[in-house]
Symmetry: C2
Amino acid sequence: MGDPTRRPGSAPSVPGTDEFETIRRIAARVGAAPRGEVWIGDDAAIVRVGDALLAIAADAVVAGVHADLTLTSVADLGWKALAVNVSDLAAMGCVADRALVTVSASPGSDLDGLYDGLLAAAEAFGCAIVGGDLTTGPGLVVSVSVIGDGGGVPPPVLRSGARPGDEIWVTGPLGAAAAGLRALRAGHRDGPLVDAHARPTPRVGEGRAARAALASAMIDVSDGFSADLGHILDASGVGCELDGLAVADGATEDDALGGGEDYELVICCRPERELAARFRSAGLADPVLVGRCVADQERRLLAGAPLPLRGWVHHL
Amino acid sequence: MGDPTRRPGSAPSVPGTDEFETIRRIAARVGAAPRGEVWIGDDAAIVRVGDALLAIAADAVVAGVHADLTLTSVADLGWKALAVNVSDLAAMGCVADRALVTVSASPGSDLDGLYDGLLAAAEAFGCAIVGGDLTTGPGLVVSVSVIGDGGGVPPPVLRSGARPGDEIWVTGPLGAAAAGLRALRAGHRDGPLVDAHARPTPRVGEGRAARAALASAMIDVSDGFSADLGHILDASGVGCELDGLAVADGATEDDALGGGEDYELVICCRPERELAARFRSAGLADPVLVGRCVADQERRLLAGAPLPLRGWVHHL
């Protein structure tokens, strides 16, 4: 999860243990998934229930952490809570069909406003909210879980399949969400950058097209491009050589590298799979080729220089 | 969700709108489920994804609301967070196979202790934790969602199927969780009542047996027996005549009526289905017959007197 309330590129400042270390420790205790399932460590889990393979994911958004409610509305928070989960399934090439929502809120919270955004996103992404829970609690914590079909051929795309020689694509220019947050702080209240921050659009069609193209690895840009690409490189055991960045109009290179919350997809794919042609024939916007995977996993270059690591880590 | 931190039978005191009113308003906005699915308003949702029918549920537990961490451990909170969700599926006659967990925690929270309890419950109930999310946030909010098979014959048991003449059973005596909380407050630290409060056991086998017996309606006792039975009566459009209560050793009648968090099941079933005999042949503890359903839905009697309404409502 990215955090739009930090300054882009700033060092994490909360003491404690970082979330990835905690997740690694928990994953070790959970144990290995049975054959055919994917558990902790990817954008979504793939599980077998009865005869079915399902893609499932859950993410929480917290007022004051994932959204500053002095700048964006509680409806925007609701939209984001569903959108980030739909994006998690999109990053596997799967489509979220149904959602559950739990809300922990202090008395007097604007739950109708929250549901304005949740239901608008549910409508926009075709993912019905079918149940959940309301409870009293400190602040406002909205946890969403989604479920979609995880079966079929080709299988869902993991983070771990990138190979040397694969092209590295992004589904669109990056940094708009971070630039939008800066615009909000400067007093702007609308425009495409603000929309990118307040109402992100998961790339569901793009994820499906990448899966159909036999993409080797995929992730959504939530923590920041360099951190999220890093997750693919770590999981796949490869390095990268990037020719440049795809920077959104009005965004800086730092926004694009570490801003996060863009919810564009990073896709690794063999050149002969012709990803761009497939996107075009599916009526999708052109993806942007940013570089390629290399065998040396220590090698992570942007225009010949070391790729700066940017991105948010929750400290717990 | 019940709330063990209130005094049994006390009136809700938090200002705002009650959770059921909010849920009704949200349910109206969500719209009707397609044929064969069950959305908001039962213990779990039944959804069709691809060719599969799934049972899914999500509940959040909050430190200081659902558990007093001066009396019970953060591991107990983790256990409870998973157990209440497994219980939601049990109340449909379904079995939870996989779980996702999102945790919103302030820095320095004892996440390893939390996962001690979550993983112990996952092991005890055969429901693996396969993913989720960690984020910083106020307090400690643990949201769990579970998934299990929702297909097969007979179908899952809803709240809405009770008919006049159905017997009303509970899977065990009630009030132990409330009595256990009182024992903890009086300085006791172990014993069966404390265990009932700190480490509730969802009645998975009992739920399956009731479904196999073609039970007409079922719910788990989370808010309190009179409130939860009331949900069945409201959904089914029937009344009840109770001969008496099944009160746990060491509990009061008030604990049994309104204590909540017992996670026993309330089961409505035609007499000719011989629920008790089926439980016996399945090796389950004898259920307790407490009364029967009647046609007059205004009639709710306990030993000839009006059934007192007890139970917890979150105000939001």
